[in-house]
Symmetry: C2
Subunit: 248 residues, 2 copies
DNA sequence: CGCGACTTTGAGCTATCTCAACAGCAGTGG
DNA sequence: CCACTGCTGTTGAGATAGCTCAAAGTCGCG
Protein backbone atom coordinates (compact mmCIF):
# COMPACT_ATOMS: atom_id res chain seq x y z
CA UNK A 1 0.00 0.00 0.00
CA UNK A 2 1.02 3.58 -0.54
CA UNK A 3 3.57 4.69 2.05
CA UNK A 4 1.86 7.96 2.79
CA UNK A 5 -1.44 6.26 3.45
CA UNK A 6 0.17 3.90 5.91
CA UNK A 7 1.60 6.83 7.79
CA UNK A 8 -1.73 8.59 7.81
CA UNK A 9 -3.51 5.57 9.24
CA UNK A 10 -1.48 5.85 12.41
CA UNK A 11 -3.82 8.66 13.40
CA UNK A 12 -3.32 8.01 17.08
CA UNK A 13 0.44 7.86 17.17
CA UNK A 14 2.19 11.14 17.78
CA UNK A 15 3.66 12.41 14.56
CA UNK A 16 6.63 14.66 14.54
CA UNK A 17 5.75 18.21 13.59
CA UNK A 18 7.33 17.54 10.22
CA UNK A 19 8.56 14.37 8.58
CA UNK A 20 10.07 13.68 5.19
CA UNK A 21 10.14 10.10 4.01
CA UNK A 22 10.76 7.91 1.03
CA UNK A 23 9.81 8.43 -2.59
CA UNK A 24 6.16 8.57 -3.57
CA UNK A 25 4.29 5.62 -5.07
CA UNK A 26 1.88 7.13 -7.56
CA UNK A 27 0.94 3.79 -9.11
CA UNK A 28 -1.15 2.92 -6.07
CA UNK A 29 -2.12 6.40 -4.91
CA UNK A 30 -5.68 6.82 -3.72
CA UNK A 31 -6.04 10.43 -4.87
CA UNK A 32 -4.07 10.26 -8.07
CA UNK A 33 -7.07 10.63 -10.34
CA UNK A 34 -8.20 13.68 -8.36
CA UNK A 35 -5.10 15.71 -8.85
CA UNK A 36 -2.59 16.97 -11.34
CA UNK A 37 -0.87 13.59 -11.20
CA UNK A 38 -3.60 12.07 -13.37
CA UNK A 39 -2.08 13.94 -16.31
CA UNK A 40 1.29 12.25 -15.85
CA UNK A 41 1.54 9.50 -18.44
CA UNK A 42 2.72 5.93 -17.88
CA UNK A 43 6.02 6.54 -19.61
CA UNK A 44 6.75 9.50 -17.37
CA UNK A 45 5.58 8.13 -14.05
CA UNK A 46 8.85 6.52 -12.98
CA UNK A 47 10.72 9.80 -13.30
CA UNK A 48 7.84 11.66 -11.63
CA UNK A 49 7.85 9.38 -8.61
CA UNK A 50 11.58 9.85 -8.21
CA UNK A 51 11.00 13.59 -7.82
CA UNK A 52 8.66 13.43 -4.85
CA UNK A 53 8.98 12.41 -1.25
CA UNK A 54 6.19 11.52 1.15
CA UNK A 55 5.68 14.08 3.85
CA UNK A 56 3.63 14.38 7.00
CA UNK A 57 2.81 16.93 9.65
CA UNK A 58 0.66 16.54 12.69
CA UNK A 59 -2.43 18.58 13.37
CA UNK A 60 -2.09 22.30 14.06
CA UNK A 61 1.40 22.57 12.68
CA UNK A 62 2.43 25.05 10.06
CA UNK A 63 3.36 23.94 6.54
CA UNK A 64 4.55 27.30 5.27
CA UNK A 65 4.13 30.98 5.98
CA UNK A 66 3.24 33.99 3.88
CA UNK A 67 6.46 35.66 2.71
CA UNK A 68 8.69 32.58 2.98
CA UNK A 69 10.56 31.43 -0.13
CA UNK A 70 8.22 29.06 -1.96
CA UNK A 71 10.64 26.23 -2.58
CA UNK A 72 8.30 23.23 -2.42
CA UNK A 73 4.85 22.15 -3.48
CA UNK A 74 2.65 19.69 -1.62
CA UNK A 75 -0.05 17.42 -2.98
CA UNK A 76 -2.28 16.45 -0.10
CA UNK A 77 -3.00 12.74 0.18
CA UNK A 78 -4.67 12.66 3.61
CA UNK A 79 -6.06 15.31 5.94
CA UNK A 80 -7.10 18.94 5.66
CA UNK A 81 -5.23 22.24 5.74
CA UNK A 82 -6.22 25.89 6.00
CA UNK A 83 -4.79 28.52 3.69
CA UNK A 84 -4.91 32.05 5.05
CA UNK A 85 -3.62 35.56 4.96
CA UNK A 86 -2.89 37.63 8.04
CA UNK A 87 -3.19 41.40 8.26
CA UNK A 88 -0.55 43.20 10.35
CA UNK A 89 -3.09 43.89 13.11
CA UNK A 90 -3.93 40.22 13.56
CA UNK A 91 -7.07 39.89 11.46
CA UNK A 92 -7.03 36.62 9.57
CA UNK A 93 -8.81 35.67 6.37
CA UNK A 94 -8.89 32.00 5.44
CA UNK A 95 -8.88 31.87 1.65
CA UNK A 96 -9.56 28.17 1.42
CA UNK A 97 -9.47 24.72 2.95
CA UNK A 98 -7.32 22.19 1.13
CA UNK A 99 -8.52 18.59 0.94
CA UNK A 100 -6.85 15.42 -0.40
CA UNK A 101 -5.97 15.92 -4.05
CA UNK A 102 -5.41 19.66 -3.64
CA UNK A 103 -2.03 21.11 -4.44
CA UNK A 104 -0.42 23.67 -2.18
CA UNK A 105 2.18 26.13 -3.37
CA UNK A 106 1.90 25.53 -7.08
CA UNK A 107 0.28 28.89 -7.70
CA UNK A 108 2.75 30.83 -5.61
CA UNK A 109 5.45 33.02 -7.08
CA UNK A 110 8.93 33.38 -5.59
CA UNK A 111 7.52 33.55 -2.08
CA UNK A 112 4.26 32.28 -0.60
CA UNK A 113 1.42 34.79 -0.67
CA UNK A 114 -0.55 32.75 1.86
CA UNK A 115 0.23 30.68 4.92
CA UNK A 116 -0.86 27.07 5.42
CA UNK A 117 -1.48 25.02 8.58
CA UNK A 118 -2.47 21.39 8.94
CA UNK A 119 -5.87 21.22 10.64
CA UNK A 120 -5.79 17.44 11.06
CA UNK A 121 -2.76 15.20 10.81
CA UNK A 122 -1.72 15.54 7.22
CA UNK A 123 0.18 13.55 4.64
CA UNK A 124 1.27 14.87 1.30
CA UNK A 125 3.62 14.28 -1.57
CA UNK A 126 6.32 16.91 -1.49
CA UNK A 127 8.23 18.13 -4.56
CA UNK A 128 10.94 20.67 -5.12
CA UNK A 129 9.05 23.37 -6.94
CA UNK A 130 11.92 24.09 -9.27
CA UNK A 131 12.40 20.44 -10.23
CA UNK A 132 8.68 19.98 -10.56
CA UNK A 133 8.44 22.84 -13.01
CA UNK A 134 11.47 21.61 -14.90
CA UNK A 135 9.68 18.30 -15.25
CA UNK A 136 6.36 19.69 -16.51
CA UNK A 137 7.71 22.71 -18.40
CA UNK A 138 7.94 20.99 -21.78
CA UNK A 139 4.92 18.72 -21.33
CA UNK A 140 1.89 20.55 -22.71
CA UNK A 141 -0.56 17.89 -21.54
CA UNK A 142 0.49 18.49 -17.91
CA UNK A 143 0.63 22.26 -18.32
CA UNK A 144 -2.91 22.17 -19.68
CA UNK A 145 -4.09 20.11 -16.75
CA UNK A 146 -2.41 22.52 -14.34
CA UNK A 147 -4.05 25.41 -16.14
CA UNK A 148 -7.43 23.73 -15.75
CA UNK A 149 -6.87 23.24 -12.03
CA UNK A 150 -5.81 26.85 -11.63
CA UNK A 151 -8.89 28.03 -13.53
CA UNK A 152 -11.07 25.98 -11.21
CA UNK A 153 -9.41 27.56 -8.23
CA UNK A 154 -9.99 31.00 -9.72
CA UNK A 155 -13.61 30.14 -10.27
CA UNK A 156 -13.96 29.05 -6.64
CA UNK A 157 -12.30 32.28 -5.52
CA UNK A 158 -14.81 34.29 -7.55
CA UNK A 159 -17.68 32.42 -5.93
CA UNK A 160 -16.15 33.28 -2.57
CA UNK A 161 -16.01 36.94 -3.61
CA UNK A 162 -19.74 36.88 -4.35
CA UNK A 163 -20.37 35.21 -1.02
CA UNK A 164 -18.35 37.75 0.96
CA UNK A 165 -19.57 40.76 -0.99
CA UNK A 166 -23.28 40.05 -1.15
CA UNK A 167 -24.48 37.31 1.12
CA UNK A 168 -25.98 37.35 4.61
CA UNK A 169 -24.60 35.29 7.48
CA UNK A 170 -27.26 32.63 7.02
CA UNK A 171 -26.56 32.34 3.29
CA UNK A 172 -22.82 32.16 3.91
CA UNK A 173 -23.12 29.33 6.41
CA UNK A 174 -25.50 27.38 4.17
CA UNK A 175 -23.16 27.87 1.20
CA UNK A 176 -20.23 26.75 3.33
CA UNK A 177 -21.93 23.50 4.31
CA UNK A 178 -23.03 22.75 0.76
CA UNK A 179 -19.63 23.69 -0.66
CA UNK A 180 -17.90 21.34 1.72
CA UNK A 181 -20.39 18.63 0.84
CA UNK A 182 -19.69 19.04 -2.87
CA UNK A 183 -15.95 18.86 -2.39
CA UNK A 184 -16.20 15.82 -0.14
CA UNK A 185 -18.19 13.78 -2.59
CA UNK A 186 -15.30 14.21 -5.03
CA UNK A 187 -13.17 11.87 -2.95
CA UNK A 188 -15.26 10.13 -0.31
CA UNK A 189 -18.61 8.52 -0.66
CA UNK A 190 -21.43 10.95 -0.05
CA UNK A 191 -23.13 11.17 3.30
CA UNK A 192 -25.83 13.37 4.83
CA UNK A 193 -23.41 14.06 7.67
CA UNK A 194 -20.77 16.64 6.86
CA UNK A 195 -17.76 16.39 9.16
CA UNK A 196 -16.46 19.81 10.17
CA UNK A 197 -12.85 19.22 11.07
CA UNK A 198 -12.14 22.92 11.50
CA UNK A 199 -13.01 25.12 14.48
CA UNK A 200 -15.76 27.72 14.58
CA UNK A 201 -13.01 30.32 14.47
CA UNK A 202 -11.73 28.83 11.20
CA UNK A 203 -15.22 28.88 9.70
CA UNK A 204 -15.68 32.47 10.88
CA UNK A 205 -12.41 33.60 9.34
CA UNK A 206 -13.34 31.85 6.12
CA UNK A 207 -16.80 33.43 5.91
CA UNK A 208 -15.82 36.90 7.12
CA UNK A 209 -17.92 36.56 10.28
CA UNK A 210 -17.27 35.97 14.00
CA UNK A 211 -17.42 32.68 15.91
CA UNK A 212 -20.49 33.93 17.77
CA UNK A 213 -22.29 34.60 14.50
CA UNK A 214 -21.35 31.15 13.16
CA UNK A 215 -22.65 29.56 16.32
CA UNK A 216 -25.88 31.55 16.34
CA UNK A 217 -26.47 30.90 12.65
CA UNK A 218 -25.93 27.16 12.99
CA UNK A 219 -28.34 27.17 15.93
CA UNK A 220 -30.84 29.08 13.82
CA UNK A 221 -30.50 26.59 10.94
CA UNK A 222 -31.02 23.80 13.45
CA UNK A 223 -34.14 25.44 14.95
CA UNK A 224 -35.59 25.74 11.45
CA UNK A 225 -34.82 22.03 10.90
CA UNK A 226 -32.46 22.44 7.94
CA UNK A 227 -29.55 20.81 9.74
CA UNK A 228 -28.74 18.95 12.91
CA UNK A 229 -25.60 19.89 14.80
CA UNK A 230 -23.73 16.70 15.72
CA UNK A 231 -20.31 16.19 17.34
CA UNK A 232 -17.65 17.42 14.88
CA UNK A 233 -20.08 18.11 12.09
CA UNK A 234 -23.57 18.77 10.85
CA UNK A 235 -26.19 16.47 9.46
CA UNK A 236 -28.23 17.82 6.59
CA UNK A 237 -31.96 17.45 7.21
CA UNK A 238 -33.36 19.47 4.33
CA UNK A 239 -30.99 19.69 1.41
CA UNK A 240 -33.40 21.48 -0.86
CA UNK A 241 -34.11 24.32 1.53
CA UNK A 242 -30.37 24.73 2.08
CA UNK A 243 -29.92 25.09 -1.67
CA UNK A 244 -32.76 27.58 -1.81
CA UNK A 245 -31.05 29.67 0.84
CA UNK A 246 -27.86 29.78 -1.20
CA UNK A 247 -29.55 30.51 -4.50
CA UNK A 248 -30.99 33.60 -2.73
CA UNK B 1 -1.10 52.56 -36.67
CA UNK B 2 -3.02 49.73 -35.10
CA UNK B 3 -6.54 49.50 -36.53
CA UNK B 4 -8.21 49.06 -33.20
CA UNK B 5 -6.53 52.13 -31.78
CA UNK B 6 -7.73 54.23 -34.67
CA UNK B 7 -11.27 53.07 -34.04
CA UNK B 8 -10.99 53.82 -30.36
CA UNK B 9 -9.82 57.37 -30.98
CA UNK B 10 -13.17 58.24 -32.55
CA UNK B 11 -14.53 58.48 -29.03
CA UNK B 12 -17.20 60.96 -30.03
CA UNK B 13 -18.61 59.15 -33.00
CA UNK B 14 -21.46 56.78 -32.31
CA UNK B 15 -20.23 53.21 -32.39
CA UNK B 16 -22.53 50.39 -33.17
CA UNK B 17 -23.28 48.30 -30.14
CA UNK B 18 -20.98 45.67 -31.59
CA UNK B 19 -18.57 45.72 -34.51
CA UNK B 20 -16.24 43.11 -35.91
CA UNK B 21 -13.50 44.30 -38.22
CA UNK B 22 -10.35 43.26 -39.97
CA UNK B 23 -7.49 41.11 -38.74
CA UNK B 24 -5.41 42.28 -35.81
CA UNK B 25 -1.98 43.91 -36.23
CA UNK B 26 0.08 42.70 -33.29
CA UNK B 27 3.34 44.04 -34.66
CA UNK B 28 2.34 47.58 -33.80
CA UNK B 29 0.02 46.91 -30.89
CA UNK B 30 0.29 49.29 -27.95
CA UNK B 31 -0.59 46.71 -25.30
CA UNK B 32 1.17 43.71 -26.77
CA UNK B 33 3.88 43.58 -24.12
CA UNK B 34 1.22 43.76 -21.38
CA UNK B 35 -0.68 40.71 -22.41
CA UNK B 36 -0.42 37.09 -23.35
CA UNK B 37 0.54 38.17 -26.86
CA UNK B 38 4.05 39.01 -25.65
CA UNK B 39 4.72 35.27 -25.44
CA UNK B 40 3.93 34.77 -29.12
CA UNK B 41 7.23 34.48 -30.95
CA UNK B 42 8.20 36.20 -34.20
CA UNK B 43 7.90 33.03 -36.22
CA UNK B 44 4.36 32.46 -34.98
CA UNK B 45 3.02 35.99 -35.14
CA UNK B 46 1.76 35.88 -38.70
CA UNK B 47 -0.45 32.89 -37.99
CA UNK B 48 -1.54 34.44 -34.69
CA UNK B 49 -2.66 37.67 -36.32
CA UNK B 50 -4.68 35.73 -38.87
CA UNK B 51 -6.69 34.21 -36.01
CA UNK B 52 -7.94 37.44 -34.49
CA UNK B 53 -10.28 40.20 -35.59
CA UNK B 54 -10.54 43.69 -34.17
CA UNK B 55 -13.70 44.28 -32.26
CA UNK B 56 -15.45 47.23 -30.69
CA UNK B 57 -18.47 47.94 -28.53
CA UNK B 58 -19.75 51.27 -27.32
CA UNK B 59 -20.09 52.19 -23.67
CA UNK B 60 -22.69 50.39 -21.55
CA UNK B 61 -23.15 47.52 -23.95
CA UNK B 62 -22.85 43.91 -22.99
CA UNK B 63 -19.96 41.75 -24.23
CA UNK B 64 -21.21 38.45 -22.90
CA UNK B 65 -23.48 37.08 -20.23
CA UNK B 66 -23.10 34.51 -17.50
CA UNK B 67 -24.35 31.15 -18.79
CA UNK B 68 -23.84 31.87 -22.49
CA UNK B 69 -21.62 29.52 -24.49
CA UNK B 70 -18.07 30.87 -24.17
CA UNK B 71 -17.09 30.78 -27.80
CA UNK B 72 -14.73 33.76 -28.00
CA UNK B 73 -12.01 35.46 -26.02
CA UNK B 74 -11.29 39.19 -26.05
CA UNK B 75 -8.01 40.95 -25.41
CA UNK B 76 -8.82 44.54 -24.50
CA UNK B 77 -6.83 47.15 -26.36
CA UNK B 78 -8.73 50.29 -25.32
CA UNK B 79 -11.34 51.04 -22.66
CA UNK B 80 -12.59 49.39 -19.50
CA UNK B 81 -15.09 46.64 -18.78
CA UNK B 82 -16.79 45.29 -15.68
CA UNK B 83 -16.96 41.59 -14.92
CA UNK B 84 -19.77 40.58 -12.62
CA UNK B 85 -22.04 37.89 -11.32
CA UNK B 86 -25.73 38.36 -10.67
CA UNK B 87 -27.74 36.57 -8.01
CA UNK B 88 -31.30 35.57 -8.95
CA UNK B 89 -32.75 38.29 -6.70
CA UNK B 90 -30.85 41.06 -8.48
CA UNK B 91 -27.85 41.50 -6.20
CA UNK B 92 -24.73 42.06 -8.26
CA UNK B 93 -21.11 41.44 -7.37
CA UNK B 94 -18.48 42.90 -9.65
CA UNK B 95 -15.53 40.51 -9.55
CA UNK B 96 -13.18 42.78 -11.44
CA UNK B 97 -12.58 45.64 -13.82
CA UNK B 98 -10.74 44.74 -17.01
CA UNK B 99 -8.26 47.26 -18.44
CA UNK B 100 -6.25 47.27 -21.68
CA UNK B 101 -4.09 44.16 -21.84
CA UNK B 102 -6.55 42.07 -19.85
CA UNK B 103 -8.03 38.98 -21.44
CA UNK B 104 -11.71 38.19 -21.10
CA UNK B 105 -13.09 34.71 -21.41
CA UNK B 106 -9.88 32.76 -21.42
CA UNK B 107 -10.50 31.33 -17.97
CA UNK B 108 -14.06 30.34 -18.69
CA UNK B 109 -15.15 26.77 -19.24
CA UNK B 110 -17.86 25.73 -21.72
CA UNK B 111 -20.04 28.65 -20.70
CA UNK B 112 -19.21 32.01 -19.14
CA UNK B 113 -19.34 32.03 -15.35
CA UNK B 114 -19.43 35.85 -15.31
CA UNK B 115 -20.99 38.59 -17.41
CA UNK B 116 -19.07 41.48 -18.95
CA UNK B 117 -20.16 44.99 -19.96
CA UNK B 118 -18.17 47.75 -21.59
CA UNK B 119 -18.04 50.72 -19.20
CA UNK B 120 -16.43 53.05 -21.76
CA UNK B 121 -16.27 52.56 -25.49
CA UNK B 122 -14.13 49.51 -25.88
CA UNK B 123 -11.89 47.94 -28.48
CA UNK B 124 -10.46 44.46 -28.27
CA UNK B 125 -8.88 41.71 -30.29
CA UNK B 126 -11.38 38.90 -30.64
CA UNK B 127 -10.43 35.25 -31.15
CA UNK B 128 -12.40 32.06 -31.52
CA UNK B 129 -11.66 30.34 -28.25
CA UNK B 130 -11.40 26.93 -29.84
CA UNK B 131 -8.98 28.10 -32.51
CA UNK B 132 -7.01 30.09 -29.98
CA UNK B 133 -6.54 27.01 -27.81
CA UNK B 134 -5.67 24.90 -30.82
CA UNK B 135 -2.99 27.45 -31.60
CA UNK B 136 -1.43 27.56 -28.12
CA UNK B 137 -2.08 23.96 -27.10
CA UNK B 138 1.27 22.60 -28.21
CA UNK B 139 3.30 25.71 -27.42
CA UNK B 140 4.61 25.35 -23.85
CA UNK B 141 6.04 28.89 -23.75
CA UNK B 142 2.57 30.37 -24.36
CA UNK B 143 0.87 27.92 -22.00
CA UNK B 144 3.33 28.93 -19.30
CA UNK B 145 2.63 32.59 -19.88
CA UNK B 146 -1.09 31.94 -19.73
CA UNK B 147 -0.59 30.01 -16.52
CA UNK B 148 1.32 32.95 -15.06
CA UNK B 149 -1.48 35.35 -16.00
CA UNK B 150 -4.07 33.05 -14.47
CA UNK B 151 -2.02 32.76 -11.28
CA UNK B 152 -1.86 36.55 -11.07
CA UNK B 153 -5.59 36.75 -11.46
CA UNK B 154 -6.02 34.17 -8.71
CA UNK B 155 -3.72 36.17 -6.50
CA UNK B 156 -5.78 39.33 -7.12
CA UNK B 157 -8.95 37.39 -6.34
CA UNK B 158 -7.47 36.27 -3.03
CA UNK B 159 -6.59 39.85 -2.15
CA UNK B 160 -10.18 40.75 -2.92
CA UNK B 161 -11.35 37.97 -0.60
CA UNK B 162 -9.28 39.46 2.23
CA UNK B 163 -10.69 42.89 1.45
CA UNK B 164 -14.31 41.70 1.47
CA UNK B 165 -13.89 39.41 4.45
CA UNK B 166 -11.93 41.62 6.81
CA UNK B 167 -11.77 45.25 5.83
CA UNK B 168 -13.84 48.28 6.84
CA UNK B 169 -15.50 50.56 4.29
CA UNK B 170 -12.72 53.13 4.61
CA UNK B 171 -10.01 50.50 4.07
CA UNK B 172 -11.88 49.07 1.09
CA UNK B 173 -12.21 52.41 -0.64
CA UNK B 174 -8.55 53.28 0.00
CA UNK B 175 -7.48 49.87 -1.31
CA UNK B 176 -9.68 50.35 -4.37
CA UNK B 177 -8.08 53.68 -5.24
CA UNK B 178 -4.56 52.36 -4.72
CA UNK B 179 -5.30 49.15 -6.60
CA UNK B 180 -6.59 51.10 -9.57
CA UNK B 181 -3.52 53.35 -9.40
CA UNK B 182 -1.22 50.33 -9.49
CA UNK B 183 -2.94 48.81 -12.46
CA UNK B 184 -3.00 52.10 -14.36
CA UNK B 185 0.71 52.68 -14.06
CA UNK B 186 1.20 49.35 -15.83
CA UNK B 187 -0.01 50.89 -19.09
CA UNK B 188 -0.30 54.66 -18.74
CA UNK B 189 2.12 57.10 -17.27
CA UNK B 190 1.54 57.61 -13.58
CA UNK B 191 -0.47 60.54 -12.30
CA UNK B 192 -1.71 61.69 -8.90
CA UNK B 193 -5.19 61.88 -10.42
CA UNK B 194 -6.95 58.54 -10.71
CA UNK B 195 -9.75 58.61 -13.27
CA UNK B 196 -12.80 56.69 -12.07
CA UNK B 197 -14.59 55.73 -15.23
CA UNK B 198 -17.10 53.59 -13.38
CA UNK B 199 -20.16 54.75 -11.44
CA UNK B 200 -20.50 54.80 -7.65
CA UNK B 201 -22.83 51.84 -8.06
CA UNK B 202 -20.09 49.90 -9.83
CA UNK B 203 -17.60 50.71 -7.08
CA UNK B 204 -20.16 49.72 -4.46
CA UNK B 205 -20.86 46.39 -6.13
CA UNK B 206 -17.15 45.75 -6.40
CA UNK B 207 -16.44 46.53 -2.75
CA UNK B 208 -19.54 44.89 -1.29
CA UNK B 209 -20.93 48.22 -0.05
CA UNK B 210 -23.71 50.62 -1.10
CA UNK B 211 -23.42 53.76 -3.22
CA UNK B 212 -24.24 55.85 -0.17
CA UNK B 213 -21.39 54.31 1.79
CA UNK B 214 -18.97 54.87 -1.12
CA UNK B 215 -20.07 58.47 -1.32
CA UNK B 216 -19.79 59.06 2.42
CA UNK B 217 -16.42 57.33 2.62
CA UNK B 218 -14.98 59.36 -0.25
CA UNK B 219 -16.27 62.51 1.46
CA UNK B 220 -14.64 61.39 4.70
CA UNK B 221 -11.32 60.73 2.93
CA UNK B 222 -11.59 64.18 1.39
CA UNK B 223 -12.33 65.84 4.75
CA UNK B 224 -9.25 64.17 6.22
CA UNK B 225 -7.23 65.47 3.24
CA UNK B 226 -6.13 62.09 1.86
CA UNK B 227 -7.82 62.64 -1.48
CA UNK B 228 -9.58 65.33 -3.47
CA UNK B 229 -12.75 64.41 -5.33
CA UNK B 230 -12.55 65.80 -8.87
CA UNK B 231 -14.90 65.36 -11.85
CA UNK B 232 -14.69 61.71 -12.96
CA UNK B 233 -11.95 60.78 -10.54
CA UNK B 234 -9.98 61.41 -7.39
CA UNK B 235 -6.69 63.15 -6.85
CA UNK B 236 -4.40 61.59 -4.29
CA UNK B 237 -3.21 64.13 -1.72
CA UNK B 238 -1.51 61.88 0.79
CA UNK B 239 -0.32 58.63 -0.73
CA UNK B 240 1.44 57.40 2.37
CA UNK B 241 -1.57 57.75 4.65
CA UNK B 242 -3.68 55.94 2.06
CA UNK B 243 -1.20 53.07 2.13
CA UNK B 244 -1.24 53.07 5.92
CA UNK B 245 -5.02 52.73 5.85
CA UNK B 246 -4.79 49.68 3.60
CA UNK B 247 -1.97 48.03 5.54
CA UNK B 248 -4.43 48.13 8.48
C1' DC C 1 -12.16 15.86 39.62
C1' DG C 2 -10.78 20.01 37.76
C1' DC C 3 -8.43 22.69 34.28
C1' DG C 4 -8.28 24.73 29.70
C1' DA C 5 -10.02 25.18 25.18
C1' DC C 6 -13.89 25.62 22.52
C1' DT C 7 -18.79 26.60 21.85
C1' DT C 8 -23.18 28.55 22.89
C1' DT C 9 -26.20 32.11 24.51
C1' DG C 10 -27.37 36.79 26.13
C1' DA C 11 -27.40 41.93 25.98
C1' DG C 12 -26.08 46.10 24.34
C1' DC C 13 -23.31 48.61 20.60
C1' DT C 14 -21.93 50.28 16.07
C1' DA C 15 -20.81 50.21 11.15
C1' DT C 16 -23.25 49.97 7.46
C1' DC C 17 -27.76 49.77 5.25
C1' DT C 18 -32.26 51.68 4.04
C1' DC C 19 -35.20 55.17 2.93
C1' DA C 20 -35.76 59.82 1.72
C1' DA C 21 -34.68 64.42 0.32
C1' DC C 22 -31.94 67.29 -2.31
C1' DA C 23 -28.23 68.97 -5.53
C1' DG C 24 -25.78 68.99 -9.96
C1' DC C 25 -25.70 68.24 -14.69
C1' DA C 26 -26.93 66.69 -19.49
C1' DG C 27 -30.23 66.32 -22.65
C1' DT C 28 -34.81 67.76 -24.61
C1' DG C 29 -38.17 70.37 -26.21
C1' DG C 30 -40.92 74.43 -26.17
C1' DC D 1 -32.98 80.78 -23.41
C1' DC D 2 -35.22 78.59 -19.87
C1' DA D 3 -38.34 75.09 -17.72
C1' DC D 4 -38.54 70.17 -17.36
C1' DT D 5 -37.01 65.44 -16.95
C1' DG D 6 -33.96 61.82 -15.76
C1' DC D 7 -29.85 60.26 -13.93
C1' DT D 8 -26.04 60.24 -10.77
C1' DG D 9 -24.11 61.60 -6.62
C1' DT D 10 -24.40 63.61 -1.88
C1' DT D 11 -26.20 64.11 2.66
C1' DG D 12 -29.27 63.15 6.63
C1' DA D 13 -31.83 60.26 9.96
C1' DG D 14 -33.40 56.14 11.62
C1' DA D 15 -33.17 50.84 11.32
C1' DT D 16 -30.65 46.56 11.64
C1' DA D 17 -27.37 42.71 10.89
C1' DG D 18 -23.62 41.40 12.82
C1' DC D 19 -20.02 42.72 16.33
C1' DT D 20 -18.25 43.11 21.10
C1' DC D 21 -18.09 41.91 25.62
C1' DA D 22 -19.49 38.82 29.17
C1' DA D 23 -21.12 34.66 31.29
C1' DA D 24 -22.28 30.06 31.32
C1' DG D 25 -22.18 25.35 29.19
C1' DT D 26 -19.59 21.31 27.11
C1' DC D 27 -16.01 18.28 26.29
C1' DG D 28 -11.44 16.08 26.34
C1' DC D 29 -7.71 15.11 29.09
C1' DG D 30 -4.24 14.93 32.79
Amino acid sequence: MLDSVIIAEKQNTQLFPLQQESHVRCDQCAIRNLSLCRAVQSLEIRKYMALGTTFSVSAKHNLFTQGEAASHIYIITQGIARLYKMLPDGRRQIVGFALPGDILGINQGESFSVSADAITNLTACCFSKQRYFEFIMDKPHILQELLTLTKNELSLAQEQIVLLGQRSAEERVAAFILGLRNRMKRSQHLSVTIPLMMSRQDIADYLGLTTETISRTLSKLMKSRLILIVPDGVRILNLQRLYELVAG
